[in-house]
Symmetry: C2
DNA sequence: AGTTGCAATGCAACTCGTTGCATAGTATCT
DNA sequence: AGATACTATGCAACGAGTTGCATTGCAACT
């Protein structure tokens, strides 16, 4: 599994509470990996037991209790081990593809709004990535920044790909509408 | 869930046994959705109970028993219903992205072989898609073929994207090696 | 006659991930 | 004073997906 490792990376970038991590998974980190707070809390507990992370409880004076997690030496070693471990590229699993192939056996026209919606969503994300790109990655970049930028660039590349593909697919579906 | 619907589409394209489906999920269908035989058998049973598919048992004279499934009217209606149902675009979840960001806290060089391996795998798939493209989609296409082609084109587009991105990322990692 | 391999199906146990709910304190608005 | 919303954590139950193993029968090789 890799949520473990995604959390390790995230905690190395900045020690945080589960709640904070969950919020970051709704934004920056979420652009390359997503998770719910449930999962995050459970994985954090598991990793604490395995001594990959350590929690410092900050008793709540002005706010509810908060456990700030940071990565231990063991956790850091585990990350390094995992980095070098080979993995296979993941298989594609996209609902739109199934639907498109399924359109041959149903009402192809009913897919048009769906595709338009996806096109809009991808355009949205692309804009969002572009904003981040200009805001955070336009000057000189240290190693960490450069790596983060490379990750962002995959997002940009793929959203562009999606946009173009949605256009194409919409063209095809519309050509059936005669 | 959509393995259900992926199977419906697949069975509409050609009625098959679970085993056959599993094999097709290792090739053509697997290019846009993958599954193990376990999952397939379980989903088929469930769908049979829901009367989305019907099985015709072909008692084995020369081979072990075989259940050939085909889609019922109910199943077909369910597919149409699902086609029109809106869904959100899926979030990205790619291990390479996590690893790349993690490389800031470990040995970045150890990622190079991994990236080279992914590049090779994507190049491989791209070649494979190109072969299919020439073989199956070069003449005039009926509606079904055109839709299948559109799905294949997304595969081609994304593998190309991956290739270019792997090159870029490798360049970056190598620039750290000085 | 025995081993290997493939076609075909399936059970059981497990991990991963989602959903719904519960709690409890703090802050802010009306 | 009460309603609403946000911070912060967690349990319990479920559903999706993987892994390992088991079975049966045929075919082909050795």
């Amino acid at each position: 599994m890799s949520l473990d490792h995604a959390l390790l990376v995230s905690l190395l970038e900045k020690p945080s509470s589960g709640y904070e991590l969950a919020r970051r998974f709704d934004r920056s980190i979420g652009y390359f990996w997503h998770a719910t707070h449930q999962q995050i809390y459970r994985v954090l507990s598991r990793m604490e037991e395995a001594d990959w992370v350590a929690a410092e409880v900050q008793a709540g004076e002005t706010a509810p209790d908060r456990k700030e997690y940071s990565v231990t030496a063991t956790g850091s070693a585990e990350l390094s081990r995992w980095l070098a471990e080979p993995t296979e590229p993941e298989g594609v699993r996209d609902i739109l593809m199934v639907k498109l192939r399924g359109a041959a056996f149903g009402d192809a026209g009913s897919l048009i709004p769906e595709l338009e919606h996806h096109r809009a969503a991808h355009a949205n994300r692309l804009t969002c990535y572009r904003v981040i790109e200009t805001r955070d990655f336009s000057g000189a970049l240290d190693r960490q920044r450069a790596l983060q930028y490379q990750v962002l660039k995959s997002g940009i590349r793929f959203e562009q790909g999606w946009l173009e593909w949605c256009e194409e697919a919409l063209g095809l579906l519309r050509s059936f509408e005669q």
